[in-house]
């Protein structure tokens, strides 16, 4: 606790400084300032009240929204959204005691929360009307909710929103090409460009000035809230509730970003990294105990496996900048290797049963060998070649394990039938297949595997962070940024790239060994380039890209999203891959740095907005501001 005065600046330095050209704030809807604020608060109040009313006559709509005085299902989400909007609005309006909710005092956060509340509420109302066949199925409460949330939205639209400045460079001309100078298309386009919110650079107070206990408490509370929100989402019993949940969570997170809260929080975690990491692990360990359900534990294992493999891929793609399009094959190599030495009667070495540590080493070693075999010839060449060779390798792996069935090829893998009846693991005499009792809580098979996998994930995270902060990690990044320059600095590009590639491969192999046991059997099918469900190479890459290249939490978050969303939105199944493809395109277009941007990476992707004082200041305070000007 004594270190606080050292980090505390003499002056209350803002985390970011406003760029003079960037300041532009006006409302979307012209309302007198007082009216906008009153409408906002009235809307909040009305929406809150509406959730205590009955929205529909029948309990045919899931969640039972018929009860007066007791919100249920989607009403709870509307209620949470409205309360959050109200608190944040009061904070933004300067009410003492709540201003900490909106550190940058920008009303953008209020607008975003109001939009989230509005969207959730109207989604609920429309879903009721549509599923039950007409507006007649709505009770007055439903109408009140719809109107009140609309008032709320309009009110916030009347607030002075911080927006993007007009683009002085004329870049829009080049994007639009030959569209007529003042046609409707250009008009719309201009409007859309101007409508973009801008809150990234608004100054927020430095959280390091807060007492240390507040900072620690913040981390604990956020971790606990994270687990709560996640388990709530997983426990949503029906599609409508999950969609409403998704809408609200997305808008709320966006609002927190807009308010500057996430920036403060990331500063806190950066200052207390070991503690934050510990809390992350504690939250993850708590998951099977809180969410005591085998189905969700199973999902948890799979997310961890998928996330761990994505982290391994992140070394290759995110840190070193090598595009590996067949990465899932290394998971497959690990899984098959583990299956072959598992003692399964379908293995060609059915008598061989390695203990877990030996099987894990075997899986890693097998993946490592393949990684070097693929990497050694291609890593000397231009990066594009690696993409095609790894893509080819991924394909070959799948074809080969399909053909190694004794008919089309030598008998090794049983072809499409795969190796099944893989026995459960036993670690230190603790059989992971059996349920175990901890007080009143029973940990089932998947919960056991979840905890085992969590250990492996932690190991991989440690490897990742240690490596990326080390000499070799800096070499990787140097290679990614400019291979020619890096080589000129004396970095042996080939060797460094091969290490990254081989390390990534063996981490995937390690995850593969566990996955073989979790799923009882290994078959060729999951190890393809793209498919409807993770893991496959396209999804792995997407997890890394979506989450944020070069970060630890990004790929894990990306993996979780890519696992949970398809699981929950079953009706999307037919459109899922299509939506997935379109999402990839849109993300690359609008947020190429991913959900959780790596600082360096963000600079790289947004070169035209490069050297943002905000980002410099986030990392190392005032010294960097001087550098930015140099």
């Amino acid at each position: 606790m004594t270190d606080i005065p050292l980090t505390e600046p003499l002056q209350p330095t803002p985390l970011g400084t406003t760029h003079p050209d960037a300041a532009r704030s006006d409302s979307f809807v012209t309302l007198p300032p007082g009216v906008a604020r009153i409408a906002t608060l009235v809307g909040v109040a009305g929406t809150i009240v509406s959730t205590f009313m009955s929205w529909t006559y029948t309990s045919a709509f899931p969640g039972d929204l018929t009860v007066n005085g007791y919100p249920g299902g989607l009403q709870v989400l509307t209620l949470i959204g409205a309360i959050l909007t109200g608190l944040v609005a009061l904070g933004a309006f300067g009410v003492k005691g709540l201003t900490w909710l909106v550190p940058n005092r920008s009303p953008n956060a209020v607008l975003l929360l109001a939009a989230g509340t509005f969207a959730t509420t109207w989604y609920a109302v429309i879903a009721i009307a549509q599923e039950l066949g007409g507006l007649a199925n709505l009770n007055p409460g439903g109408f009140v909710a719809a109107v009140a949330s609309l008032v709320l939205l309009v009110g916030t639209l009347g607030l002075p929103i911080d927006r993007q400045p007009l683009d002085p460079s004329g870049a829009e001309y080049y994007e639009l090409g030959r569209l007529s100078e003042n046609g409707p298309a250009r008009g719309t386009y201009r409007w859309l460009r101007q409508a973009r919110l801008n809150h990234g650079e608004l100054p927020v107070p430095d959280p390091a000035r807060a007492p240390a206990w507040v900072q620690y408490l913040t981390i604990v509370v956020v971790a606990a809230a994270g687990v709560k929100v996640l388990t709530y989402g997983l426990a949503t019993g029906y599609t409508e509730l999950f969609i409403g949940y998704l809408i609200l969570v997305v808008f709320t997170l966006w609002a927190f970003i807009a308010a500057g809260l996430t920036r403060q929080f990331s500063k806190i975690t950066a200052d207390h990294r070991p503690f934050a990491a510990l809390m992350g692990v504690v939250a993850a360990v708590a998951y099977p105990f809180v969410q005591n359900n085998e189905h969700w534990a199973n999902l948890g294992v799979n997310i961890l496996i998928f996330g761990t493999v994505a982290l391994g891929l992140n070394i290759v793609v995110g840190l070193t900048g090598l595009l590996d399009l067949g990465y899932v094959a290394f998971l497959g190599v690990g899984a098959y290797a583990a299956a072959l030495v598992s003692g399964s009667q379908y293995s060609i070495w059915s008598g061989v049963e390695f203990p877990f540590w030996a099987a894990a080493l075997t899986g890693m070693a097998a993946s490592l060998v393949f990684g070097v075999l693929i990497g050694a010839p291609t890593l000397r060449l231009r990066g594009d070649y690696l993409a095609i060779v790894t893509l080819g390798f991924g394909e070959i792996f799948r074809i080969a394990v399909n053909n190694l069935d004794g008919v089309s090829g030598p008998k090794v893998t049983n072809g499409p039938n795969g190796i099944s009846q893989i026995p459960d693991l036993s670690v230190f005499g603790y059989n992971l297949g059996d349920p175990h009792q901890f007080g009143s809580i029973t940990l089932g098979r998947f919960a056991n595997y979840y905890l085992l996998m969590l250990v492996i994930t932690v190991i991989v995270v440690l490897v990742f962070t240690r490596a990326s902060d080390s000499r070799i990690g800096r070499s990787w990044i140097a290679i990614r940024e400019d291979e020619t320059a890096a080589t000129a600095m004396g970095i042996n590009g080939f060797r460094v790239k091969l290490i990254a590639f081989a390390l990534g491969a063996s981490l995937a192999g390690l995850a593969g060994t566990v996955s073989a046991h979790v799923t009882y059997s290994v078959v060729p099918n999951p190890y393809q380039f793209s498919g409807a469900a993770p893991p496959n190479s396209a999804f792995l890459l997407a997890a890394v890209v979506l989450g944020g290249m070069g970060t630890v939490s990004g790929p894990v978050l990306g993996a979780a999203l890519l696992y949970i969303v398809p699981e929950k939105l079953g009706f999307l199944q037919r459109y899922e891959l299509f939506a997935f493809g379109v999402t990839l395109i849109l993300i690359m277009r609008f947020r190429p740095e991913g959900i959780i941007p790596n600082r360096r990476r963000k600079l790289e992707f947004h070169q035209d907005e490069a050297l943002l004082p905000a980002q410099q200041a986030l990392g190392d305070g005032t010294a960097a501001l001087g550098k930015a000007g140099a």
Binding site: L325, D384, G392, E395, I396, I399, N403, F580, V582, I585
Partner: protein, 309 residues
């Protein structure tokens, strides 16, 4: 059937198709250094476009008469998709790190595949493609299917036309200039955006021809046929030296012949009797790629250039 000349001929036919698709990869790569990963799907949509035209034509129409219309229909679809992809997906990312457009390309590839799968009537199963007739012609001991004649003729026409276009036309010169130095090409008054669009369009056109040829050759088309074919074609482009149009065709032919011969003869090698056959063809194509990259990294006709990334 399994004589060497026959295998060579089979490889030539297959290779012509790889070459036609490979041209699209190589032209785009030569000008914007982008692996248009979605090119395999552009090939696939071309085949579906042609099939749509066939289904719209009156029943019992002579296939030879319908073929030009099918080619036009397929070409329109492929070219539109290729140009649209450039305009709306790739162009905004120009100047972004190289990984960004590549990931966009993967997304585009998935989206196109799934769009056909979901919305093209009946495309969740293989769709039958009209046939040119089953009686092969015989040239000595070699049996040649009618569809293979179409394929080779199309490949020759396309290749000769493209070579003439690039060598003699004003746009062709502009293309060469843009590939060598895009900034300076603009200083010459070349609208490089237009050149890039043309490169995508030519790639789309050739892919459509290959798509029709694929349908005629195999009798069926599927929504995911672009992946394998695209992978092979890209391999062919790299084999031949990426960025070089003649290399793309040569790479295609070498790959096709190697594949045909591997399928037929690998099993005769002692100790490898289980590694021949169609199932392993892709494996051998891939092994060939690795070997060529080891021996001649710039590809068969490629020039040694530094990594421009």
């Amino acid at each position: 059937m399994h004589t060497l000349p026959q295998q060579l001929a089979n490889g030539l036919f297959l290779g012509s198709m790889y070459g036609l698709i490979a041209i699209g990869y190589t032209m785009v790569y030569g000008i914007v250094q982008l692996i248009n990963f979605a090119h395999g799907e552009i090939f696939m949509t071309g085949a579906f476009g042609a099939l749509t035209v066939w289904n719209c034509l009156p029943d019992g129409m002579n296939i030879w008469a319908a073929l030009p219309l099918m080619l036009i229909g397929g070409a329109i679809v492929s070219v539109l998709i290729a140009v649209g992809a450039e305009r709306f997906a790739y162009r905004p990312l120009r100047g972004a790190p190289r990984l960004a457009p590549l990931i966009t390309a993967i997304g585009l590839s998935l989206a196109l595949q799934q769009a056909i799968f979901v919305w093209y009537p009946g495309a969740d199963n293989a769709k039958d493609f009209p046939q040119l007739g089953t009686h092969p012609y015989h040239l000595g001991s070699i049996a040649i299917q009618r569809n293979d004649i179409f394929l080779v003729a199309a490949a020759v026409v396309c290749m000769v036309g493209l070579a003439a276009f690039v060598r003699t036309s004003r746009t062709g010169r502009a293309m060469q200039a843009t590939a060598q130095d895009p900034d300076t090409a603009q200083l010459m008054g070349i609208d490089t955006n237009r050149i890039i669009v043309i490169a995508f369009a030519i790639g789309g056109l050739f892919a459509a021809v290959a798509g029709v040829a694929f349908g005629l050759k195999y009798g069926q088309i599927t929504y995911n046929m672009g992946f394998q074919a695209g992978l092979k074609a890209f391999t062919a482009a790299v084999l031949g030296g990426i960025g070089n149009i003649y290399g793309a065709m040569l790479g295609g032919l070498v790959l096709g012949i190697a594949e045909a011969c591997a399928t037929a003869y690998i099993a005769n090698i002692p100790g490898m009797h289980q590694l021949g056959g169609q199932g392993w063809a892709n494996v051998w194509a891939f092994v060939l790629l690795i070997v060529v990259l080891l021996v001649r990294p710039q590809g068969l006709l490629g020039e040694r250039v530094a990594d421009r990334a």
